[in-house]
């Protein structure tokens, strides 16, 4: 056992030693240790180098607020977690940790030169230097700064761990399981509430785990904690979550909890989830987050070995670790004395106590004097000494004039500091609660709640143990939905005194040559804050951004109030006027994996497949993503590339027959006596005059008059329409329709039902389509006289009741067979077999795109971009002129929407007959213009047309329809390409094939 480990006591298990490595050196700790306590037990105080000056740094705290002792923990190449607080890392057998920000080693670090060059790097230096020459910023300054900045290195391999997520509900969520939190949970459970209680530490108890002096319910603190935890654990309506950080407070009492499941285990089960995100909807929240002890800001306060007094007491009483052999206490509180006396009782020499207060005569100072410890009042610190560990401290008495009085140097190997307590109001502030400044507490406290929550105990300034427990009991009972049981009482006495406290720098600190640190993690000193105020910054929000104080991963848990006080004094303003920065989630850093949960790989998004997908996959189809859908893009044969496959598929449709899976089309059944009127008001087209059994191409605009969706709409009955939408637009269109139905036109008796997935849709397109269908469809006459283009009929399709729609997106004779989805694959196979003798060829979305472009049919979202009116797209023929209104009509009547120079859909043909234009390419009137070029439009679709043997393109060109025959140029990477403006209908302009 190392000489810093006590012989007995604490909550570590001396029967279970654990070996671990830090920077390659093997050490031994105990089960129950944190990495920090285990390092201290081995006399290791130097654990890292600071962010900016690379100063040697040690362990300052014993908890989540740690600003200094950041380490990387490595399990294997992929499981590397940087920037963990050593105070929160639970020790396990074989743990491997590394210090940060040092090269070549922690003890000899070349970056330390920054400390000696620090006059060159004052706060905000990066705003003022590196400005010249300008070109050097990108090539030199930024890369160098980026390399130098930051702590730790993110792992480069994919995270192999699983992360779980769940939702939970409770009546009362208690955040924090210290005395107030435990009392609140017990009281809420007494009243029959469903309770959840979480704490970020490995065991419940909070401050009680390190308290030797308290008595609760007639027993010591540790025994009472054990009883309380056992009672809660056994309660059927209580969920206890240790190792669980409430990191975020979201609207309506949704609290994010991050539960660490395996990080404390030496050998986690192979597929066990590493962390679990709990999204808890709590009827009421009790915040019992406790408080954080404040460091004192004095010269040389960042030397390894300088730490919070409460942390030293925790290391001793909870972990059985003496933080040194000879300590000095610098304090402004009585609580600091408790730590010094606990250490003295454990055999540590207390070389002296420097109390900033003019008089220290409470119970604890008296006890210290009685124990023979020299107490200096009105003291201040002039500096510390020591290289990689504090070796001495110089204290002085302040006199009325402020000048340093008698000074004294004390040798020591640890310095304890105690500046008072800062209530942890992070979660309360995240909940948008209002804080108020309390002069009595010298702290911000919760004042007005925005959510149904209440704070209890030290986080609202109730520090006394008995009062905190009573506060917790009251909060828990009040938070419960009903009162059924009588109130529980818990008697407690504590020796702790939280009298005193100090904000800001100690006297004379600004005159010292050594740096006085305010923010350990971002290396912000009192000098930096002074520069900020000299630069004219008055608000803490500005000071923060100029100096980066409080902006590190610890969010300034130990530094914010000191920074505020220093700025307030510098500009001679009260602290509340300087302000308080906003607390944001997460309370402590939370891994990305926890937020991602199972949403990765195939579970990142649903992968939607049509009923015909497996057949297409077996046929060798290449798929593309369209929204969440997988759609067959083309069906290559015999090693064809896409170009060859698409050309073959196009020729087959134009000359014989193609088979296409259109199941992803959005489908909405609109039913009711008001159905026709509903469509009349919504779509630009007329619907009242559409006969039953007929179809019409519909265009849907937004209120701004721009096209948002299109699709064929079939009238199945007087009061029933079958609406099709684009694949990607289906949910949006249904939501838009429901919105208008429910909020704008409640007068209409009409209802909407999504039928997208009810129907598999099989398109049979091409001159032989009817021949194929004759073998598959019963009960209707397929001839044009009976079933002309744009008509619909119910029929038996391969023995299945379905709908035959005669529609075409190819310009050929075409049908779309709608059959119930479970039959889709069977019907597809049957039609494919029936088409074998007719040259039937499966085609994919790429061919579909080419064929429709040859006909000048737009694709919403490709040829339109949310700024295209029906007239721009050449579709003014579809707009119902006589209708009194439709969505977008008023916008379309605006003069600017009818301007002749609006971009209009036209076709483009390269003059050379062979250059394929880039989609998205700009179009200009004149080649070789000097920038800025005058551009008149852009290419929206561009394909090689198999049937025309030439490339074609669709484009939106300013005043395009008046330019037919003109030559424009398309600047391309290989040079300007001359193009002729033509009609967008490249093929069969008279539409004879479609009516065949």
């Amino acid at each position: 056992m190392s000489r810093w480990r006590t012989a007995a006591g604490g909550r570590v298990d001396r029967a279970h030693p654990l070996a671990f490595r830090f920077d390659g050196t093997r050490y031994e700790g105990l089960a129950g240790d944190t990495l920090a306590s285990a390092l201290l037990a081995n006399g290791v105080h130097l654990v890292g180098r600071s962010f900016k000056y690379h100063r040697p740094r040690g362990i300052v705290t014993a908890g989540a607020e740690e600003p200094s002792a950041l380490v990387t923990v490595r399990r294997d190449a992929a499981r590397v977690t940087p920037d963990l607080r050593a105070t929160q890392v639970e020790l396990y057998e074989g743990l491997e940790a590394q210090s940060l920000n040092r090269w070549p080693s922690l003890a000899r670090d070349v970056g330390r030169i920054n400390d000696w060059l620090s006059p060159l790097f004052p706060a905000g230096f990066y705003y003022k230097t590196f400005m010249w020459p300008k070109s050097a910023w990108k090539s030199l300054y930024e890369p160098v700064i980026r390399h130098a900045a930051g702590l730790g290195v993110a792992p480069s391999e994919p995270d192999p761990d699983r992360y779980a997520q769940c939702y939970a509900h409770c009546d009362v969520l208690v955040v924090g399981a210290g005395p107030a939190g435990l009392a609140a949970a017990l009281a809420a459970a007494d009243q029959g509430a469903r309770v959840m209680i979480c704490d970020e530490q490995n065991e419940f108890g909070g401050s009680l785990l390190a308290d030797r002096h308290a008595t609760i319910d007639g027993t010591d603190a540790a025994t009472w904690v054990g009883r309380a935890v056992a009672e809660l654990a056994a309660h059927p309506r209580v969920v206890c979550l240790p190792r669980t950080t409430a990191f975020g407070y979201f609207p309506h009492n949704l609290i994010g909890l991050a539960e660490r499941l395996t990080d404390h285990l030496a050998a986690p089960a192979p597929h066990a989830a590493r962390e679990r995100l709990w999204q808890v909807r709590a009827r009421s929240v009790v915040i019992a987050a406790g408080s954080v002890e404040r460091p004192l800001v004095f010269p040389g306060n960042d030397r390894p070995g300088v730490m919070l007094a409460g942390a030293a007491r925790t290391y001793l009483n909870r972990y059985g670790v003496r933080v040194g052999d000879r300590v000095v206490l610098v304090t402004a509180t009585d609580a600091g004395y408790e730590a010094a006396i606990d250490l003295r009782d454990a055999g540590v020499e207390v070389a002296g106590i420097a109390d900033l207060r003019p008089t220290a005569n409470g119970e604890w100072p008296a006890a210290a004097r009685a124990a023979g410890i020299e107490v200096s009042e009105s003291a201040t610190v002039l500096g510390t000494s020591g290289n990689l560990r504090v070796a001495g401290i110089t204290i002085a008495q302040t006199t009325a004039s402020g000048a340093g009085g008698a000074r004294r140097s004390l040798a020591c190997d640890a310095v304890l500091m105690s500046g008072g307590y800062t209530p942890s109001v992070h979660l309360f502030s995240q909940s948008r609660g209002k804080l108020r400044w309390s002069d009595a507490h010298q702290a911000f406290l919760p004042e007005r709640s925005a959510e149904r929550e209440r704070s209890a105990g030290a986080c609202r300034g109730v520090y006394d143990l008995a009062e905190a427990i009573a506060d917790g009991l009251q909060a828990g009972a009040d938070a419960a939905p009903s009162r059924t049981a009588s109130a529980r009482r818990i008697a407690a006495t504590s020796a702790r005194s939280t009298d005193g406290g100090h904000l800001g720098a100690v006297p004379l600190a600004s005159e010292a040559s050594q740096k006085s640190f305010v923010d350990w993690q971002h290396d912000v000193t009192i000098k930096d804050l002074a520069i900020a105020t000299r630069e004219g910054f008055r608000s803490i929000e500005h000071v923060k951004r100029f100096t980066t104080t409080g902006m590190a991963t610890d969010q300034g848990k130990t530094s914010n109030l000191n920074a505020l006080a220093i700025v307030a004094r510098a500009i001679d303003a009260p602290i509340p006027r300087v302000g308080l920065t906003t607390f944001r989630m997460p309370y402590t850093p939370t891994s990305f994996g926890t937020f991602a949960g199972p949403s990765r790989g195939d579970l990142f998004d649903p992968i939607r497949r049509t009923p015909i997908h497996e057949w297409a996959a077996a046929a060798g189809a290449v798929f593309e993503d369209v929204g969440m859908w997988k759609r067959a893009r083309y069906f290559p044969e015999h090693g064809e590339d896409m170009h060859a496959a698409v050309a073959r598929e196009c020729r087959a449709v134009r000359s014989a027959c193609g088979l296409f899976d259109a199941s992803t089309l959005g489908k909405i059944e609109i039913v009711g006596p008001g159905a026709a009127e509903f469509l009349e008001r919504l779509y630009v087209n007329s619907w009242a005059n559409l006969g039953v059994g007929r179809c019409r191409y519909g265009i849907l605009c937004r209120e701004d008059g721009f096209i948002t969706d299109d699709g064929v709409i079939a009238r199945l009955a007087a009061d029933r329409f079958h609406v099709t939408t684009t694949t990607g637009g289906a949910p949006r269109v249904l939501a838009m329709m429901e919105d208008y139905r429910q909020t704008e036109w409640p007068d209409l008796e009409v209802w909407l039902t999504s039928t997208t997935e009810q129907w598999a849709v099989i398109a049979v397109q091409g001159p032989k389509a009817r021949d194929v269908l004759r073998e598959c469809v019963e009960g209707i006459d397929l001839e044009s006289a009976a079933l002309p283009h744009m008509s619909v009929a119910a029929a038996r399709i391969c023995g299945v009741e379905g709908l035959v729609m005669r529609v075409s997106f190819t310009g050929e004779l075409g049908y779309e067979l709608n059959v119930p989805a479970d039959y889709g694959l069977g019907v597809w196979k049957a039609v494919h077999a029936a088409g074998a003798g007719h040259g039937i060829t499966c085609y994919g979305t790429e061919t579909m795109h080419v064929l429709r472009a040859e006909k000048g049919y737009i694709i919403v979202g490709q040829d339109t971009d949310g700024t295209v009116t029906p007239d721009d797209a050449g579709l003014s023929w579809a707009v119902g002129r006589k209708k009194p209104d439709f969505v977008g009509r008023r916008s379309l009547q605006r003069q600017s929407m009818q301007a002749p120079d609006r971009k209009q859909l036209v076709g483009l043909r390269p003059r050379d007959g062979r250059t394929l234009l880039d989609e998205g390419a700009q179009v200009a009137e004149q080649p070789n213009q000097r920038p800025p070029m005058r551009l008149v439009g852009h290419v929206t679709s561009s394909y090689q047309s198999a049937v025309l043997g030439a490339p074609i393109a669709l484009a939106m060109i300013a005043g395009g329809r008046a330019r037919l025959g003109q030559t424009l140029v398309v600047p391309m990477p290989g040079g300007d390409v001359a193009v002729e403006v033509v009609s967008p209908v490249f093929y069969d302009p008279k539409g004879e094939r479609i009516n065949a």
Binding site: Q165, R194, P606, R608, W629, V671, W751, T756, Y823, G826
Partner: protein
């Protein structure tokens, strides 16, 4: 003429806590109180005021999805056409909407002592028995899939999900289950 096409349902995993339910006949009913009252003559339907409740009669059930909307589920042996016909005759001329959605979605049963927890892995509702009792049903989400969730017994739920979202829903349930049922 080609022979009648065979029926193919989505291929979903089954285990002792999850199974895909056999094909069913489903009808989306929408209409006002008068239409609902008339339809209830032909099929078990919850009252308009029985918010988020299912009404069962043998193997048929009507699920309240909205004040003017119900999802009707019957065994596949009841042909959709026959059910629609019976409902139409019962409702008569009163305005309403009936749409066959038998193939639109599939049913997945989740059961056992972990059923609530498995569903709460991706469904944000309070599924405790006192807040979500037997025969409560609602439209909700399961991660990125929209579902209808119906508690059919104390430890048994029926998830109705659109067919293309069913493999995702089942796979996510299996992933969640790794932390509870091994």
């Amino acid at each position: 003429m080609r022979e009648t096409a065979v029926r193919n349902v989505p291929d979903l995993p089954a285990s002792d806590w999850m199974r895909p339910l056999p094909p069913a006949t489903r009808v989306a009913f929408q209409g006002g109180p008068a239409a609902r009252a008339a339809a209830a003559q032909a099929f078990p339907l919850p009252d308009a005021q029985a918010v988020c409740r299912a009404r069962r009669d043998g193997d048929r059930a009507g699920l309240w999805l909205g004040p003017d909307e119900c999802l009707l589920i019957a065994p596949a042996t009841t042909a959709a056409g026959a059910l629609l016909g019976a409902l139409r005759s019962a409702i008569g001329a009163t305005a309403h909407s009936l749409v066959d959605v038998s193939h639109r979605q599939v049913g997945i049963e989740v059961r056992g002592p972990h059923a609530e927890r498995l569903l709460n892995g991706a469904c944000p509702l309070d599924l405790s028995l006192d807040r979500f009792p037997v025969d409560m049903c609602t439209r909700t989400v399961f991660a990125k899939a929209e579902i209808v969730l119906w508690r059919t017994d104390e430890q048994q739920f029926r998830v109705e999900v659109w067919r293309s979202f069913a493999p995702y829903t089942a796979a996510l349930l299996q992933e969640i289950a790794r932390d509870y049922v091994g």
